[in-house]
Amino acid sequence: MHPVLILVVQRIALGLLLLVAASILIFAGTMILPGDVAQSILGQSATPEALANLRAELGLNEPPVTRYFNWLFGVVQGDLGTALTNGQDIATSMGRRLSNTLFLAFWAAAVAVPLAIFLGLVAVLYRDRWPDKLISGVTLASISIPEFLIGYVLMYFVAVQLGWFSTVAMISDSMSLLEKLSVIALPVAVLTLVVLAHMMRMTRAAILNVMQSAYIETAELKGLSAFTVIFRHAFPNAIAPIVNVVMINLAYLVVGVVVIEVVFVYPGMGQYLVDHVSKRDVPVVQACGLVFAAVYIGLNMVADIVSILANPRLRHPK
């Protein structure tokens, strides 16, 4: 078997193992939370008999290990359980929320990743001159300002004063793609500003690091243009660190957008999670935690695999 294939399979297996470990942590974490699920459903005035019946019905009297495995087998079969508060199937209601979050994250990434890499390349090209300093200054400033503030400021100037986009990012299935994009334009802009600096700085640092190599001098002495040297000779050797930071930011776009979703009233995962945490809906919190963990682990696994594939020594062994 090709050594790269072995490495990739190893990564995937490790990722799955990590996911199982994360599921144990999530389950154990919600388990040690104070309070009693049956009590919180029935309220303070419930009779002891009613509580006992509900506990038996929910399987709360089983030992924790049995309950964990029951939960895990359900999850593997796509059954995330039912929400305690409204009795709805979690998988169904979360599915719509998740696809909304992924929609927002996708468009934010589609703008932010190419822009960050492009700005990183420009910063290297004009290293220590004004374009580099301007790019660094602006991106660092945007990452330093709290995202809700950027959100409200943009909302005030762009949506309220100029009247360009809407302040509320409520999307529904009946909208066309163009309408949806117009509605999410502001949250996408805010998210882009938030993740841009990190990726751009890493691109710049990774490429500058490679620019010290002897083969860059060889390329310069071939009389190639500065852009060709950076793009053709430096960039391919800087992919691994760049992909790593890109994936961490993509994961943030999926699991870290709670604040932005609340600011723009966007019906995504973040809102869903916050709602149910405040209502102590443990099965929903568990399911959300598991999905977030899967996204994190999955994206970092992709970063690892891309790094492996980007290494010519592994791709083309002797």
């Binding site: 310069e220 002495l221 391919p236 002797k318």
Partner: protein, 545 residues
């Protein structure tokens, strides 16, 4: 008379130095350099590190490495001053009219791109020919340079070919755009001596066949003598001597040139082995963890007190692995090491502090073998503290004694490694090893990174110390001149085996086995025409077989 291809007049090159705690200052690194090079001729630039050879070479492409600036003089290529060219003019010059062969091809090739792509890149970027024709030219250059399977060689990635092959591919890279001038910057320095001779011959043939002119930069006078028509000797950025190759080699006018020609002045009388060796390796076989093949096969060597055993071989022959086994860093799978009559534990963890003290090491790279944040006094004082419990004034007194032994003196005690030259750093490492009062010091390529004259000084010091301290050296090297200078006995290693072992006079006298013969005949000699003689001799021999 037509303009020469390259004419350099009164070249001055400066850089900015940043001494710690002081404002930056401009320093002159090359001054008053003038020379001319006609079409098809080869000029050798020779000198030690810091002489400004590479800097002068790169000035022919108007290129300054790091913060280096060309601040004065003229560099005319075909009559026009390239120092006055703008960005686009320089682009047209570099990689087209003038090309460059770097010292370490392994670092100079981009690991992420195929060799063919890199070899033809400059040719295509300058629009010199079509992609197909450039590839055809690259293949014919691969063939001319003696690369295996020239048709498919370019489809490989740099890490898939050997160092010697990559160095030839670098030459193909430089010749592919059909330049008028090639700058060879130490093109064979990183190679084993047996590989160097083939690459050298290939480069020489390529220069002759293509009629290209060349600047050949090296610190090895014997090498430059083989390829150059003229030689310029440089020191500290100044010209020492400039003349025909024949005159420089056979009739040097300056003392410095004479020192370079006659380096290795050491006269060392060989001591005879006794029956009571201080260190004996018996039937040592070893492999690295997780690998499936032995890197050492059945090695048996012995070393007497106060004597030197030189272990010679090319890279990958297992020399340094043997040192790792003796020091306990790599426990052997079979065989054992005895030391001063007792059997040493195979594993480092099983050795006593006394075992550790009696066996010290000195490494090739002195600057990475020392903590840059410790002073010389701390570095040398550490073994005194660790093995003998010396502290305070007693420790300082011993450190100064050791500094005197290595000819540096008490003034160096509070300096940091960064403030020392390469040779001084290696001396500090020697003092650190001596501080433990060892019976055996393993010297792993200790002079390989040093200039010849500095290396000579280090070898003399080691021999001197051996007489006084009666310490034995296991001297690992690929350099046969060093071996001749200091060894009492020699073990020649090849592919993890000792192929020849005995006293120096036995090993270096015929009849030779094939490998030792190859090794000995590959060492460049300081005479013109040596390369042709050896190549002709080898062709005759292989025809005779």
């Amino acid at each position: 008379m037509a303009d020469p291809l390259l004419k350099v007049t009164d070249l001055k090159i400066e850089a900015t130095a940043y001494p710690p705690g002081e404002p930056p200052q401009d320093i002159t690194i090359v001054e008053d350099i003038s020379f001319a090079l006609e079409k098809g001729r080869v000029l050798g630039l020779i000198g030690e590190s810091g002489a400004g050879k590479s800097t002068i070479g790169l000035s022919a492409m108007a290129y300054g490495r790091g913060g280096v600036r060309i601040t004065g003089g003229e560099v005319l290529v075909n009559g026009r001053d390239i120092l006055k060219l703008g960005v686009s003019g320089l682009k047209r010059l570099r990689g087209a009219e003038v090309t460059y062969v770097a010292q370490s091809a392994a670092a100079a090739f981009n690991p992420a791109r195929k060799i063919m792509e890199q070899v033809t890149e400059a040719t295509l970027a300058h629009g010199r020919t079509s992609k197909r024709k450039a590839a055809a030219r690259a293949v014919s250059l691969f063939a001319k340079l003696g690369l295996p399977d020239p048709e498919n060689f370019g489809n490989r990635y740099p890490h898939q070919v050997s160092g010697g092959q990559l160095q030839r591919a670098m030459t193909a890279l430089a010749l592919c755009p059909e330049p008028e001038l090639v700058i060879f910057d130490e093109p064979t320095t990183a190679l084993d001596v047996t590989t160097q001779i083939d690459v050298l011959a290939a480069i020489k043939d390529a220069i002759r066949d293509t009629g290209v002119a060349a600047l050949y930069i090296t610190h090895d006078l014997a090498v430059v003598a083989q390829v150059s028509d003229e030689i310029m000797v440089l020191r500290d950025g100044h010209r020492i001597e400039y003349g025909a190759a024949d005159q420089i080699i056979n009739d040097p006018q300056e003392d410095y040139t004479r020192a370079l020609v006659s380096v290795r002045s050491i006269d060392h009388e060989e001591k005879q082995p006794t029956d009571d060796p201080v260190m004996q390796a018996s039937n040592v076989t070893a492999r690295y963890k997780g690998t499936k093949f032995d890197v050492l096969h059945d090695i048996s060597v012995a070393l007497d007190a106060g004597q030197t055993l030189a272990v010679v071989g090319e890279s990958g022959s297992g020399k340094s692995t043997l040192a790792r086994v003796i020091t306990g860093l790599l426990p052997p799978s079979r065989g054992q090491i005895s030391f001063a009559g007792r059997r040493l534990s195979a594993d480092l963890a099983g050795r006593s502090r006394e075992d550790l003290r009696e066996l010290q090491m000195i490494y090739q790279m002195a600057d990475v073998a020392m903590n840059p944040r410790q002073t010389v006094g701390t570095i040398i004082g550490r073994p005194l503290e660790f093995y003998f419990g010396h502290r305070g004034a007693e420790k300082r007194r011993r450190v100064i004694e050791l500094l005197d032994k290595i000819e540096l003196g008490a003034g160096y005690i509070d300096r940091y490694p960064a403030e020392l030259s390469g040779g001084q750093k290696q001396r500090v490492c020697i003092a650190r090893a001596l501080a433990a009062e060892p019976r055996l010091i393993i010297c792993d390529e200790v002079t390989s990174a040093l200039d010849p004259l500095v290396a000579d000084g280090i070898l003399k010091l080691l021999l001197e110390l051996q007489k006084i301290e009666n310490v034995a050296y296991l001297f690992i090297t690929h350099d046969l001149a060093t071996v001749r200078a200091i060894a009492d006995s020699i073990a020649v290693m090849y592919q993890g085996r000792v192929v020849r072992y005995g006293t120096k006079s036995q090993v270096l006298s015929p009849p030779f086995d094939d490998y030792t013969d190859l090794l000995l005949s590959s060492v460049p000699e300081m005479k013109l025409g040596w390369l042709e003689e050896v190549i002709a001799h080898r062709k005759m021999e292989s025809a005779g077989h």
